[in-house]
Each structure stands twice: as structure tokens, then as C-alpha cells.
């Protein structure tokens, strides 16, 4: 498949496709971080995660509309407000969903999967009724347009870079929250031994709700970032949900580092192969390899070493 390319051309192709892969990587990381928190830490399968992401995207879309009509002077900075709003809206809905639905199902993970799938159907149809079936896009502020030229053949779009920076900073933030803060310690204590955590005075129901809300909020930020590189439709979230679950499972459900490494591997493999094969075959091959590796190593790349 490399026939007919000189080595320097190949290098540029890899660099360009590598960068295209990086924006896919950013979306994967942002979605997978939320899922890794909810699935990895709580063991809850949230099939509506993609719809939470789309909720964030629609929040951003509405915010950009508001800024355009009422605060055109501040338009350059609307994204940061939108990101915060997206986080808050999604976290609030997440907390509600946890209260109304998920908390009754902690002992039945497979049933959670079905219930959240039902939620995702409802949310998708709600978006379709409210925003219409057509995809919507936001107007990017001027500073995000254009690209940085690195070499003659390689140039990097600024919005892609920006999304990547967001993804990495959120990842860093989650890391500090989960592994370097008192609250993260509580979450991990509840995950590892719920009765014991309760015995030492941790309010495990409160921790559950906050964790679920945090995961959903991060999905909202993912959605906000997603608007920078693509347009949003009612069922855009569903397109990513299987990939994202594979990313989380492949990385080892309870490891944040594993999640990031696997997001990187899967997105790079897919986008590099896309150049040489058709898009669908690249995706099939990537998924097959991931499923194959998971069959050989079901615990994922970075497994938490615990005795079961």
C-alpha cells in the first residue's frame, strides 16, 4: 500500500494524517474521560454519553448565537463562557439522571445499559424536535481560523490545535481531581470498597451523584470542543459511542493513562490507514484489531492490579 510514494512524501503523509488523527484523538479523549470516570470508576454503562456530548454542543451553539446578537464585541471569547455553560448544563442533567434512574440500578450494570439507551433515544428525539434534524454549526471567532504552516507540505489548523489543548488540559485536570485531591480519594475509596468507605463516614450516595455529574459535565465540554471542528446533529453522539467505549475498555477501564494511550493509538491507526484504504475499511480494520487484542487481553492495556 506504500507503493508509489517517496519517503519524504510518506513522512508528510504521516505527519498530516497524524495531525488529522490528533483532532480525532482530542474528541476521543474528551468523550472517553467522562466515560472512564463513569464506567471505570462507578461501573455504570452510560449509553447516553454521546447525547450528553451533543447537549454540550447545542449549548455552545446557543451561546454563540446569543453572543452574536447581543454581545458582538465579546464574540472572540464566547467559547470559554460556552464551555463553562456546557459543563454546568450537562452536569445538572447528569445529576438528575443519576437521582432519577441510575442510582436504582447500581447492582444491575446490564440494566443500566438498557435504561441509558432509552434515555439516549429520548434525548435524540428531543434534539430533533427542538433544533431540527439538520446539522448546525457555530461561527468560529476570527482568531481560531487559519492555520500554522510548519513545513511546505504540513500545516496545522488552529482550531484543531486549540481543541487538542483543551483535551489535554481537561485530562490533566481530571488527573489532579481524581488522584491528587481529597474528593478523588473519596471516589476511589467508594469504588474499591463501598461498605468500608461508608463505614469511615464517606457519603457514598453523594459521591456517586457527584461522580456521575462530573462525567456528564466533561461530556458537555467535549461537546463544546466538538463544535470547533465539526457540525452537530441530533444523532452525532451515537456515531462516537461505540468507538469511545472501545477506547475506554481497550485502555483498561480504571486507568486514565490507559484511556489516553488507547485513544491515541486508535485515532492514529484509523486516520493513518484512512489515507491508504477507504474510510470504511480503515475503521473496520481498526475495530477488528482492537476487538482482537481485547479478546487476547480482556483487561485492557493498563490493568489495575487487584486480586479478584
Amino acid at each position: 500500500m506504500f507503493d508509489g510514494y517517496t519517503s519524504s512524501e510518506l513522512m508528510s503523509i504521516f505527519a498530516m494524517q497524524g495531525f488529522a488523527g490528533l483532532s480525532l484523538f482530542s474528541v476521543f479523549v474528551l468523550m472517553a474521560l467522562g466515560l472512564a470516570i463513569i464506567f471505570g470508576q462507578m461501573g455504570v454503562i452510560n449509553m447516553a454519553h454521546g447525547e450528553f456530548m451533543i447537549l454540550g454542543a447545542y449549548t455552545t451553539y446557543l451561546t454563540s448565537g446569543l453572543f452574536e446578537s447581543y454581545l458582538p464585541g465579546l464574540f472572540g471569547g464566547y467559547f470559554f463562557i460556552a464551555m463553562i455553560l456546557a459543563f454546568l448544563v450537562c452536569a445538572a442533567l447528569g445529576a438528575f439522571v443519576e437521582w432519577a434512574m441510575v442510582r436504582h440500578l447500581y447492582r444491575r450494570p446490564l440494566d443500566t445499559l438498557l435504561a441509558t439507551w432509552g434515555l439516549s433515544l429520548i434525548l435524540q428525539q428531543a434534539y430533533r424536535s427542538i433544533f431540527g434534524a439538520r446539522e448546525v454549526g457555530v461561527t468560529l471567532p476570527d482568531w481560531m481560523l487559519g492555520s500554522i504552516q510548519v513545513t511546505d507540505m504540513v500545516d496545522l489548523p488552529i482550531n484543531g490545535l486549540f481543541v487538542m489543548i483543551i483535551a489535554l488540559s481537561i485530562a490533566l485536570g481530571v488527573y489532579f481531581l481524581m488522584y491528587r485531591s481529597g474528593w478523588g480519594k473519596k471516589v476511589r475509596a467508594v469504588v474499591q470498597n463501598r461498605p468500608m468507605a461508608e463505614a469511615v463516614g464517606i457519603n457514598s450516595a453523594g459521591v456517586d451523584r457527584a461522580t456521575f455529574a462530573l462525567g456528564c459535565g466533561i461530556a458537555g465540554i467535549a461537546g463544546a470542543a466538538f463544535t470547533m471542528i465539526g457540525s452537530t446533529g441530533p444523532s452525532s453522539g451515537q456515531a462516537y459511542i461505540v468507538d469511545t467505549f472501545l477506547v475506554v475498555v481497550f485502555g483498561g477501564a480504571q486507568s486514565l493513562i490507559g484511556t489516553i494511550i488507547s485513544a491515541f493509538g486508535i485515532s492514529q491507526a484509523q486516520s493513518t490507514m484512512e489515507f491508504f484504504l477507504s474510510g470504511s475499511m480503515a475503521k473496520v480494520l481498526t475495530l477488528l484489531v482492537v476487538v482482537g487484542i481485547l479478546m487476547l487481553r480482556p483487561e485492557g492495556l493498563m490493568a489495575l492490579k487487584i486480586r479478584r
Partner: protein
């Protein structure tokens, strides 16, 4: 009076439930519905095959597969490939640049029949493949996963990924599979027109007959030790393992069984609808199949049939009049069935209708044989023999 055990079974409670279903499918629906509607019911019934498989696999053994659409689709595609080859005679396709191959291959500049299409010229091979291909895939997946003790949500996610892979593959390889349109324009089965009303009616009864074959197979398994082990495995996997049973082998078996049922359903689906396309096998379709089983009652094979019928009938009804409301109803169904009544319709029936039946039944019995009073100490000794759709009631607390 001497009664054969089979006759006895038919007048038992369980036998009456089966009779009622048979009455509904063989007499009431064909009389009440026109040919078009009956064909629709036949289509819904093909999904009941998948739902029965899911009862065995998910309800009994606790293995949730989100990829049943894959097996349904493989069965359906095997049948569609045979029918397509039959429809693509050199005479019928003489306007193509390569006569004698399916039309979509010609559109995609393929000039010879691919090797994996060749065997589908034979009907016997096709019938084997309808069951064999899904079972083979299920065996590979099951062997890889269950011997490594992968289960629960991981298994669900992986099967879902496999559904995604197969759909993308079929859509991407347009020349070999017909792409997103699927394999269409299927007319005859061994020279027999399948699009006429008579043929559709006949196919409906074939579907019902096959459905009962599958129901009795599933029932037989349930009644045997094999079925007990499946249930035990779901409740206490390690105890079963420590009792010396090879848990993985039982899981592979039940997963292959579900795949075989789904494959049969898929083949009948192709016959009754007249085409096969990737939209029936993807992630969304596969999860919908789970709701058929969940609504009917995840532990009841009869419930699964009713679940498949009801959900699909509701879907067509909503899509005809309020298409935008259907996703809301479907979503609410998912949430409601999980939160409010995890045992589905069969569970509701058992809680609310069966006591009424008991009362009616007892009164008659009491009139006939007033001398027999319940023995003190074990009042339910007789009841235990009765058919119980939830032989082991699904309790949310076990997991």
C-alpha cells in the same frame, strides 16, 4: 382412563399457554387480518426467534449480547444471497455487461462471481449456512471471550463493536454485498414466486411452525439439567465452576444456540420481506432486539414472542401516525421495563393474572373433588408442579 403424557401436557397449565399462542397465531390472526397485515405479523415473528435466543442467553444465562443483529443479519444475508443468485439468471440479467451475476456487482464493475458467493447456488448449502455461519461466528466470539472469563458489560460492549464492524463492512464493500441498499429484488425460491399473496401466507405458516420448533427446543433445554446449570451459572458462577462444570462451554453453547435461532429468524425475515439490508443488523437494531425480550419478560420464552409482536406492532402503528413520538415511546419503554417491571409482561402476568386464574381453577377443582383439601404444612406442593414462566424469579439484588 389412560392419557398419553403428551395429551396430559396439553391440558396442563403450561400446555394451555402454548395452545393459546398457537390459537392466536394459526387461527385468530390469519382469520382477522388481510394478507398484507399477516405478512407484517410474520415479519414481527421473525424477530421473536431472536428474542427467544436472548431469553436463553441473557435471561437465563446472564450473557447480554448486543450483537444479535449480527447473527440475524448473517442468516438473512445467506438466504438473500441464494435468492439473489436465483434471480440473476443470465437471461434475466442479459442487459448487464456481465450477465449472470447480481445487478449490484455489475454496477460496481465486478465481472465474476466472488468465490464466497459460489456455494450459495445450492439450496442445501444455503440452509446449512443460515444456521452454520451465525453459529460459527458465535462459537469463535464465545470461545475467545468465555474461556478468558470475559463477561458482563465487557462482553456486551464487544458484541456491540462486532455489530458495528459488520455493518460498516457490509456498507463499505458495496460490490460484494450490495452496500447500504442491501440485497434487493428477490423474487423466487426454487422457482416459487414469493411475492404473491398465497406465497406470503404460506411463508407466514412456515414461520409459525419454525417458531414452535424453536420454542420447544428452548423449552426442552430449560427443563433439562442443562437449563438448570445455565440458570445456576447466572446466579453463582463460581459455585458452578467449583462443582466441576466447565462454565465456558455452557456459555459458548447458549450463545451459539441464540445465534442459531437468530439466524433462522433472519432467513425467514428475508423470505417474508423480500430483501435484506444493513439497517436490520446494526447497533440500533441489535439493541432493539433486546427490548423485545425485556418487554416480554427476560425469563419467559413465550413472553419473548409476545414482546416481539407487541413492540413491532407498536412501532409500525406509531410510525404510521406519529413518527416523531416513536423514539420517545421506545425510550420510555426501555427505562420503564428496567426500572418498573424488570420481569416484563410475563412477570406482570404472573403477579396479577395468574392469581385470578388460580382462583377460577381452584373453584372448579373444588367442585369436582371436594374431598381433597390442601395438606397442612405443604400447601403449595401441587402448585410447585404448575408451569411457572419465571422458574427462578429475576431479582434485581443478584448480579
Amino acid at each position: 382412563m389412560k392419557q398419553s403424557p403428551i395429551l396430559k401436557w396439553f391440558v396442563s397449565r403450561e400446555g394451555l399457554y402454548y395452545l393459546a399462542l398457537a390459537l392466536l397465531l394459526v387461527v385468530i390472526l390469519p382469520v382477522a387480518l388481510d394478507s398484507f397485515r399477516l405478512n407484517m405479523v410474520g415479519k414481527y415473528l421473525t424477530y421473536a426467534f431472536v428474542a427467544i435466543g436472548l431469553v436463553m442467553c441473557w435471561g437465563k444465562a446472564g450473557i447480554l449480547s448486543l450483537g444479535q443483529g449480527v447473527f440475524f443479519g448473517l442468516g438473512g444475508y445467506c438466504m438473500a444471497m441464494y435468492l439473489k443468485l436465483e434471480a440473476s439468471t443470465p437471461e434475466a440479467t442479459s442487459i448487464q455487461s456481465t450477465p449472470g451475476i447480481p445487478d449490484f456487482m455489475d454496477w460496481n464493475q465486478i465481472t465474476a462471481l466472488p468465490w464466497f458467493w459460489e456455494p450459495f447456488n445450492s439450496f442445501a448449502f444455503t440452509l446449512l449456512a443460515v444456521i452454520g455461519v451465525p453459529v460459527l461466528l458465535a462459537f469463535i466470539i464465545g470461545f475467545a471471550m468465555f474461556t478468558r472469563r470475559v463477561g458482563g458489560v465487557y462482553f456486551a460492549i464487544i458484541t456491540q463493536a462486532i455489530a458495528a464492524i459488520l455493518t460498516i463492512l457490509i456498507i463499505g464493500q458495496q460490490g460484494f454485498t450490495g452496500g447500504i441498499n442491501g440485497i434487493t429484488d428477490l423474487r423466487t425460491l426454487m422457482g416459487w414466486e414469493i411475492r404473491t399473496d398465497e406465497a406470503k401466507n404460506a411463508l407466514y405458516f412456515v414461520t409459525v411452525a419454525m417458531l414452535f420448533v424453536c420454542l420447544f427446543t428452548a423449552r426442552l433445554i430449560q427443563q433439562r439439567k442443562l437449563g438448570r446449570i445455565l440458570v445456576a451459572m447466572n446466579a453463582q458462577e463460581n459455585r458452578v465452576r467449583f462443582s466441576g462444570y466447565d462454565v465456558a462451554a455452557f456459555k459458548i453453547f447458549v450463545f451459539c444456540l441464540a445465534a442459531a435461532f437468530a439466524g433462522i429468524g433472519g432467513a425467514l425475515f428475508t423470505l417474508s420481506v423480500g430483501f435484506m439490508s444493513p439497517s436490520f443488523i446494526g447497533i440500533v437494531a441489535s439493541i432493539e432486539m433486546v427490548i423485545f425480550c425485556a418487554l416480554g419478560g427476560r425469563l419467559s420464552i413465550l413472553g419473548a414472542v409476545y414482546g416481539a409482536l407487541l413492540v413491532n406492532a407498536a412501532k409500525s402503528g406509531f410510525s404510521e401516525s406519529f413518527p416523531e413520538l416513536w423514539p420517545f415511546a421506545m425510550g420510555a419503554l426501555f427505562i420503564g421495563v428496567v426500572l418498573a417491571f424488570p420481569n416484563g409482561l410475563a412477570g406482570l402476568y404472573q403477579t396479577y393474572v395468574m392469581p385470578l386464574e388460580d382462583r377460577l381453577f381452584k373453584r372448579k377443582k373444588a367442585e369436582a373433588t371436594p374431598a381433597v383439601a390442601p395438606v397442612a404444612g405443604k400447601p403449595n406442593a401441587e402448585k410447585a408442579k404448575d408451569y411457572d414462566p419465571m422458574i427462578d424469579h429475576y431479582s434485581p439484588e443478584k448480579s
